[in-house]
């Protein structure tokens, strides 16, 4: 799991079965100091995040488990809106 900042949205009219109705957001992964860390990615949103929100995400197989139904072709999911990071 890792931190990220929402920087935009993606709209797909045609998408794979199971992805209908899922919001897709463009996310910049962040390190513990909230500095950009690695390439930008597209993640499914499960918590109604908005652009500029700091969120945390889960990747790989677990991203699909965060969705309902659980067998969807996603590899990153936003699973929380971050209130604060204390380091």
């Amino acid at each position: 799991m890792y931190l990220g900042r929402v920087i935009g949205t993606v709209v797909c009219e045609r998408k794979y079965e199971g992805l209908e109705g899922k919001r897709l957001l463009v996310v910049q992964p962040l390190d513990h100091e909230q500095k950009p860390s690695g390439p930008v990615e597209v993640a499914v949103d499960t918590v109604s995040a908005r652009p500029q929100d700091i969120v945390y995400l889960v990747g790989s197989r677990e991203a699909a488990l965060a969705c309902d139904p659980t067998f969807v072709p996603v590899d990153a999911a936003i699973v929380g809106l971050v209130d604060s990071v204390d380091v």
Binding site: L3, T46, V58, E62, A66, V79, D83
Partner: protein, 89 residues
């Protein structure tokens, strides 16, 4: 599993139900000399006793996490499973 140092905590009110009541920590992977090695990430604290500055043992495999937490549907990938007292290499 890998050795990590706990850097701090993450607080989130709005979250996926799987994370309700779970403590989120930011951890920094360490090498065998206990120096930082790689990118920091977030892990759920299962030991419930880790704090900032502690060296911990982190499981980074969702299947193992789901077995430990006894829920096959959990979207959790990283879990702190021990607080390290000593490493001899």
């Amino acid at each position: 599993m890998i050795l990590c140092k706990v850097l701090g905590t993450v607080t989130a009110t709005v979250k996926h139900p799987a994370f309700t009541g779970r403590k989120l920590m930011i951890v920094q992977p360490l090498d065998e000399q206990q120096k930082p090695n790689g990118k920091s990430f977030i892990a759920v604290d299962h030991s419930s006793s880790a704090g900032a500055g502690d060296t911990v043992l982190v499981l980074r495999e969702g299947g193992g996490v789901r077995q430990i937490l006894e829920d096959k549907t959990l979207p959790i990938r990283s879990l702190i499973v021990g607080v390290v007292d000593e490493v001899d290499v």
